[in-house]
């Protein structure tokens, strides 16, 4: 896969806002951003209300994904361009869902909302309606998703990439610094994990670094290219961003996102935990 197959630039996006067969989708944790202004013609997916299970700790199932995409007017043959705030964290998370459920053509807008806004490109608050479709999803592709036992089994055997900030990795902080710090889970990281904060894969404006820079970054941190890899963070969104860099940009073959991440692992009884840098 080439970079152009998975990533589009803001300039390309602006030129293709009304192109046929292309659907722009904004994905945010704070869905109010869309309502105050979005890329013209983009539809909204609310990460919490549309993509998370309302009761269980899990995300939208296959039937729910089909219903959601049908209602948003997204067809199986459409090219979906995802973007959002938080340096595309939740857009990257949604990208991973689209891949899990077998969507053929999905790309991220490089830099997301941030780059778009810093460039001064157009936003509007117009209501967007698209004709409903009948979307068909596939069963989840579990070669992309790691569960808790796989995370435990990966200790000393696979690359574990902890993409949280150094202070979360070492156990100084329990969550990113824009969130309150009192949490149920213990602090620390999975033993043998390397710490490569997601932010090292991105430039200040939110765009991804070049493939050469990315390859060097993970190699220098101790990633063994000959081994399978599991990426995790706190709730699975920042690790989707790194999963994208490793699996989609660098084309490493066996890379899974552990969406249970530290929220789950740090709550498990009896598993090993390491603290310190």
């Amino acid at each position: 896969m080439s970079r152009e197959d998975v990533l589009v630039s803001a300039a390309w996006a602006e030129e293709n806002l009304t192109a046929g067969g292309v659907v722009f989708v904004e994905v945010d944790e704070d869905a109010s951003a869309y309502d105050t202004g979005h890329i013209p013609g983009a539809v909204k997916i609310d990460w919490r209300n549309d993509l998370q299970d309302p009761v269980r700790r899990d995300f939208v199932d296959r039937a729910g994904f089909e219903k959601l995409l049908s209602a948003r007017g997204i067809g199986n043959d459409d090219t979906v361009i995802l973007y959002g705030g938080n340096n595309n964290w939740f857009a990257a998370y949604a990208y991973w869902y689209f891949k899990l459920y077998g969507h053929r053509s999905v790309k991220l807008l490089d830099g997301g909302r941030k780059k778009w806004e810093l460039d001064g490109r157009p936003l509007d608050a117009d209501a967007v309606t698209r004709e409903e479709t009948t979307y068909t999803a596939q069963e989840q592709d579990l070669s992309l998703r790691a569960f808790r036992q796989e995370a435990v089994d990966a200790i000393n055997t696979k690359n574990l990439v902890d993409v949280r900030s150094p202070d979360e990795f070492s156990g100084k902080l329990a969550a990113p610094a824009h969130l309150p710090q009192e949490q149920a889970q213990v602090k620390g990281h999975i033993p043998t994990a390397i710490n490569v904060p997601w932010s090292k894969a991105a430039n200040e404006d939110g765009t991804f670094k070049s493939n050469d820079e990315l390859r060097e970054l993970y190699k220098d941190a101790g990633l063994d290219e000959g081994k399978a890899t599991i990426a995790y963070c706190r709730i699975g969104e920042r690790s989707s961003h790194t999963w994208f860099a490793l699996h989609e940009l660098l084309d490493y073959s066996d890379v899974k996102n552990y969406d249970g991440s530290w929220t789950e692992y740090g709550s498990l009884v009896g598993v090993p935990v390491e603290v310190g840098a």
Binding site: S165, A177, P180, E182, S199
Partner: protein, 101 residues
């Protein structure tokens, strides 16, 4: 949402947050005397490593929950960028002012 006439301060802390336990960096982005909305405010640790990012509110306000130590707060906006160093010695509210443009 209007904050006209309100005393100069950040937005009230959520009820479940205890400022006596949290190290709160509470600040405002301005350009001259004008609050800057929609700036991307980045918190960098003592080594310059990225830690968190938020977007400033209509009143230019932003907030981080950090830990004691030395921090840099850097703001990006289409009108320009700016940054300031902050030293947080312990729990409580630490005021930060960042100027851009």
């Amino acid at each position: 949402m209007s904050s006209c006439g309100a005393p100069e301060q950040g937005i009230a802390l959520p009820a479940n947050v205890d400022a006596g336990k949290e190290v709160v960096l509470d600040g405002k982005v301005t350009s001259g005397d004008t609050p800057v909305e929609g700036a991307f405010v980045r918190l960098l640790d003592a080594s310059g490593e990225f830690t968190a990012e938020v977007v400033s509110s209509a009143g230019g306000d932003f907030r981080f929950f950090a830990a004691p130590g030395e921090w840099t707060v850097r703001a990006l906006h289409r009108s320009g960028n700016g940054e300031v160093k902050v030293s947080a010695d312990g729990p409580g509210l630490h005021k930060v002012a960042v100027s851009v443009g």
